[in-house]
Symmetry: C3
Subunit: 267 residues, 3 copies
């Protein structure tokens, strides 16, 4: 692995306060040449699931050695651990609260270190802003070449969220659910290409039911259907998505995260 | 032109997802020393007109050689082209959907290349996230010194939006419209200094009518009038603006984009 | 002081326009190697008090030599001055409108320069966008090594806001107020550890009254109480905060900035 120097930030800190800027200031004070890229700061407060999903969809697109720092941390200041996890040539600096769950469905961690070495914390650490006092300086020191094993003690297990899996009914239907809704109102489900392949149906006969409405036939991009019309496709994350061409599927279907989506062959 | 290394991003990706971060990750993976500056990511979904306006008001303020990457792209994955356009020592990497229209009112492109060389695309490109799969890597390669002609084939014409022009009535009045409303509620019109000069009236006698309300006399800055009072001035973009000193003209006048604004000499 | 090269930006420009991007473009054109970090751009329009609070809570976390550029500037284009102020090895480039008030409660400026040297302004400066035309180029030139005294003339005094101080009642109670509400709904008051020490009560007997509700006992972090329950603690800024564990105290208490908070020993 080459010497890491890129740090990403994914938090629920929002943009109305100075919290993100402060975190960057601390990093710049320790490693002035560290490069910082924001993945997202608009995670709804304490929404670890959404943080886990966005981290999963983005981490691979960064260069190897990147230090992904994810602070969605409802347990801040309590007994939860902060861990540094090495997966596929990436470092993850996260609270041990399940925020790596989507990634751990596909990858095994090479190394997990529970961070205890206060030498690398900010002096006079608070118990309410670990982003500033622990995550920022630790990320900066890793970017300077500090090794995970210098940060604390190895542990074997990570906490995981309960990631919903699609189920298969006796009739052979797949019942998945919406796991993410993006800015454009696209409804991203937990149904993958593998699930659909198992249905053994031609793409043009794939039928999706959302509420009382049905969409038949898999599209390959939004403009495959007329403006304002709904469609289904495998989106850029690899999951089945329900969209509306140049519209908003969330509004069109009045849908929310967790809503069920059924997929089955059209008869 | 000096070796370009600054990349700007202007998109409708918003801030609630990881899309912008992913684009930056891809760029950093190809050119770790490329500098990236966000122009705006809060373009309303698919609002090419607003993207065109913001790009026009900002592009000149960047150093020569900057690669302006604008992804407001309702036609993503369809037949629309992606083009690299060289204008006044700047590169523009954009869908060919009119997003350069405001700029093309003032400037002629030196070179237009339709991007077809998939060598520079991300492997396994999707048809729904060209920001990640095409725009990001191409921008990064241009910042590494790849020339536009290496990206595809030259074309002669760019698509253009229908940019509204003020009209002149028989009575000699100018009827313009609001083309942009900013965060402060300033109402930016398509009326320029030239249009007002043609009215041949003293600045203090210039009268603007918006809805049923009138403002007389051109100000030079907001505090020329009392707090809470409306005014007209030529704003930082060069267009006639309707503002309220330390207030919000959009709320004051209940105005929206496209609303008509008349300008004429006061009698 | 080492050669400065980090510039921070704190503005009320928001994210829907291109204003912040333009400011960065101007800086990059003058000093391509200047590093820029955003502190916050979502200050409500013209809310100098909030800008002052956020600048105070963040400035120290940046490396020495940082050029803090704060543009919350209701008087833009009018008679207010723009000043460069040196405090504790930091540069502050601000309108002279009180935005340093919180900092000046703790620190004395070493040097105050009223900026008048138009050599360092953008050519053809507007009177409505000094962020682009004056603040950006001046910050960039300071980052290139230009000294404050080259920018204008020394002055002795800075304008200050009226920062509310807690008062002490005859009964020995402290009456403070909410000075900031963050993204998480935490209610940050102007009551400090010193004020509470003066109450001479054990931490577990400290009682806070907000509206008709009372909270007794000082917590050290959010998870000290059950999920959804309110608490009081000294937050990461050093001020007494009213919070709800994994909830939103602003909604819980229907509180707003300026609301009174009483603190007194529990009997």
């Amino acid at each position: 692995m080459r010497h890491p120097s890129l740090i990403t930030l994914l938090t629920d800190f929002g943009s109305q306060d100075a919290y993100v800027g402060i975190v960057k200031g601390v990093i710049a004070g320790i490693n002035p040449s560290a490069r910082i890229i924001d993945i997202c700061h608009e995670i709804p407060p304490q929404d670890v699931f959404r943080g886990a999903y966005l981290l999963y969809t983005s981490y691979k697109y960064f260069p190897k050695g990147t230090i992904h720092t994810a602070v969605v941390d409802p347990g801040v200041g309590g007994k939860r651990d902060i861990v540094c996890v090495k997966i596929r040539d990436y470092f993850f600096l996260v609270p041990n609260n399940g925020i790596l769950s989507f990634i751990l469905q596909e990858e095994l961690p090479e190394e997990i270190v529970r961070i205890t070495n206060t030498t690398y914390f900010l002096q006079k650490s608070s118990r309410t802003f670990h982003g500033r006092d622990i995550f920022a300086p630790i990320a900066a020191y890793i970017s300077c070449g500090v090794k995970p094993q210098q940060l604390g003690t190895h542990i074997q297990q990570l906490n995981k969220l309960d990631i919903p899996e699609p189920i298969r009914t006796k009739m052979g239907h797949i019942i998945g659910q919406i796991i993410s809704i993006d800015r454009f109102g696209n409804l991203i489900t937990n149904i993958t290409k593998k699930h659909v392949r198992d249905l053994k149906t031609a793409e043009k006969y794939l039928k999706v039911t959302i509420g009382k409405r049905k969409i038949t036939g898999l599209s390959t991009t939004y403009v495959d259907v007329e403006t304002g019309k709904p469609l289904i496709l495998f989106g850029s994350t690899g999951f089945l998505e329900v969209s509306v061409n140049q519209g908003n599927a969330q509004e069109y279907f009045k849908a929310g995260r967790g809503n069920k989506i059924a997929a089955n062959p059209y008869k």
